[in-house]
């Protein structure tokens, strides 16, 4: 009588699926694109800061249609958004790495999903705050009050996504526990 080998996934570990390899490449591309965008946002932020301090040539040449203060807040918001996106991408890269290795059901992945939902939630809260601040700035420049209503939009689908991620992270935690138990079944 033969007994089934315990670590059946070891045979497939060396051959990652096409989809996991594709995902890993996609995330790597997004990773570098986001870093480039972050650099652009930082440059805009610095230019806005310099213009806000009253350097006239920069103020008149670069900020004809938009006020430097508005640009400063917007670029800061974009920097925070890009930062959150980088945190999420880093976690996704590590999750993909475990997928390629052949065993994604590890407790670390549950923790990574937790970091992702926290990052999404924080980014969304910051977006709302930025919207309110920008509305205030626009009101100061005698723009229409309607813009306050526009920026106060609560994106329900984002909070739904956060909820889905919370559930997924808990499912992963339980899955990792079961996987550990299966590993220790002889």
């Amino acid at each position: 009588m033969s007994v089934e080998p315990l670590y059946q996934t070891d045979e497939t570990a060396g051959n990652p699926s096409r989809s996991s390899v594709f995902l890993r490449r996609l995330i790597t591309v997004l990773w570098y694109v986001t870093w480039a965008l972050l650099a652009v946002f930082i440059v805009i932020f610095l230019c806005s800061g310099v213009a806000l301090m009253g350097i006239e040539p920069l103020k008149s040449q670069l900020f004809n249609d938009i006020r430097p203060s508005t640009s400063l807040v917007s670029s800061l918001s974009m920097i925070v958004g890009a930062g959150a996106f980088l945190i999420i991408l880093k976690q996704l890269r590590q999750i993909c790495q475990t997928l390629v290795m052949g065993d994604p059901f590890v407790p670390e992945n549950a923790h990574r999903l937790r970091i992702i939902w926290i990052a999404v939630a924080i980014a969304e809260v910051l977006r709302l705050i930025t919207g309110i601040v920008l509305s205030g700035l626009m009101v100061q420049t005698n723009d229409t009050v309607e813009q306050i209503e526009i920026t106060l939009d609560l994106r329900i689908y984002v909070w739904f996504l956060v909820l889905a991620l919370i559930i997924l992270s808990e499912v992963f935690r339980e899955g990792a526990r079961m996987r550990q138990e299966q590993k220790l079944t002889v």
Partner: protein, 79 residues
């Protein structure tokens, strides 16, 4: 865990090495070590059956139930 595995004692009695047993039973040495060191959470009937066949013993020779301290306290409290 309240279940203790007596594999090392049975192996000594049979004068058999862990490697030899692993070869005979058809499971990896790593898995057999998990079982021997008491780290295993569960054992398949197929594994137990193969071990008993190769060691010429009964399941009770390999597995011993030893209630843990808190388990005993719980039982006394229930009584």
């Amino acid at each position: 865990m309240a279940i203790r595995v007596n594999l090392d004692r049975v192996l000594v009695d049979r004068r058999m090495s862990l490697t030899e047993l692993a070869d005979r039973v058809g499971i990896t040495l790593a898995n057999l070590s998990i079982l021997k060191t008491g780290k295993a959470r569960a054992i398949r009937f197929s594994t137990l059956s193969a071990l008993c066949r190769e060691l010429n013993c009964q399941p009770a020779d390999l597995l011993v139930y030893e209630p843990e301290e808190n388990e005993e306290a719980e039982m006394k409290a229930a009584e």
